[in-house]
């Protein structure tokens, strides 16, 4: 794969991320009756980008450590091990997903 193409792909991914984060910031701004400069959103996007990079390599290492090639929710929970509150939030999200899946399977596909 050529380097410039990689760069281009990453730029686009970053742009898409910027777009999503912008929407999240807008939503929070509305709720808090505050505002954020575009530079703020840009800086936040950068931060999130790097954080996702760390998350990805961590997740990969965790799953590899467990002898798997697929990252599972257990690996994600490991990410949150340092922060008890974060851990509970992620655990709730995971349980909810599981519960939703069970409900969906019960109903069957249309």
């Amino acid at each position: 794969m050529a380097e410039p193409q990689d760069e281009e792909v990453r730029e686009r991914l970053k742009a898409a991320l910027w777009f999503s984060i912008g929407k999240m910031v807008d939503q929070e701004s509305l709720q808090r009756n505050r505002n954020a400069t575009p530079q703020f959103i840009g800086a936040l996007t950068d931060m999130v980008w790097h954080q996702i990079e760390n998350i990805a390599t961590d997740l990969e290492s965790f799953s590899q450590h467990a002898g798997r090639t697929t990252v599972t929710t257990d690996d994600v929970l490991l990410l949150a091990r340092h922060n008890q509150d974060l851990y509970s939030v992620i655990k709730d999200a995971i349980d909810k997903e599981k519960a939703g899946k069970t409900k969906g399977k019960g109903k069957g596909r249309g």
């Binding site: 991914l13 898409a16 999503s20 999240m24 798997r68 697929t70 990252v71 599972t72 340092h82």
Partner: protein, 194 residues
């Protein structure tokens, strides 16, 4: 169903440069989930515009990493792939997701509407497909995959991260616009805490 799939595909096409439509539609994630992250209204809207670009990106990447899920995980066989997902069901899900956006973002399967469920749906989140795509960009090993549940969990993680960042920055500056300096002040502690 083919008609739905092409509806979703053409919506994505209409938004940007024309690309091989079938591939764009087929590069949806292997969701298999009955609710489907894509069918959440807001997420669908975000991914419809965000992943219009995403569809082109995936194609340009041309990673033919088609694989079935590793039977490593018995609980969660739904592995999210970046390319693949030639299952007709998944294509339908994507189409339905885009359609859901037009319909006001209601749940398609009529799940019980808990208050918490509604609150979750109201939240803007990173589109799961985008997150998957970015994660795959950073995975160093070729064979690494992620389950759909794990992907959703990371979506939640990033959601918490972003909102925490905004909240902490807002504390720093009690009124007026949130600036980069505020983020700079809160970043070190935030990165350590999360």
């Amino acid at each position: 169903m083919p008609p739905r799939a092409s509806a979703g595909g053409s919506a994505a096409r209409g938004r940007g440069r024309p690309t091989a439509a079938a591939a764009a539609t087929n590069t949806s994630t292997t969701t298999g989930s009955k609710r489907g992250a894509a069918s959440r209204g807001k997420a669908g809207a975000a991914s419809a515009s965000g992943s219009a670009r995403g569809g082109r990106k995936r194609q340009q990447q041309q990673q033919q990493a088609l694989e079935e899920d590793d039977d490593d995980d018995d609980d969660m066989p739904d592995v999210v792939d970046v390319d693949a997902g030639l299952d007709g069901d998944d294509v339908e899900q994507e189409g339905r997701g885009v359609g859901g956006r037009g319909g006001g973002g209601g749940e398609n399967e009529g799940d019980e509407d808990d208050e918490e469920e509604e609150e979750e749906r109201d939240r803007e989140r990173i589109p799961p497909e985008l997150l998957t795509r970015i994660l795959y960009e950073f995975f160093e090993r070729e064979g690494t995959r992620i389950t759909r549940d794990a992907n959703a969990a990371v979506v939640r993680y990033v959601d918490v991260f972003v909102r925490e960042a905004i909240a902490r920055a807002a504390v720093e500056r009690s009124r007026g616009f949130l600036e980069v300096e505020d983020l700079e002040k809160v970043a070190p502690q935030l990165l350590m805490d999360l």
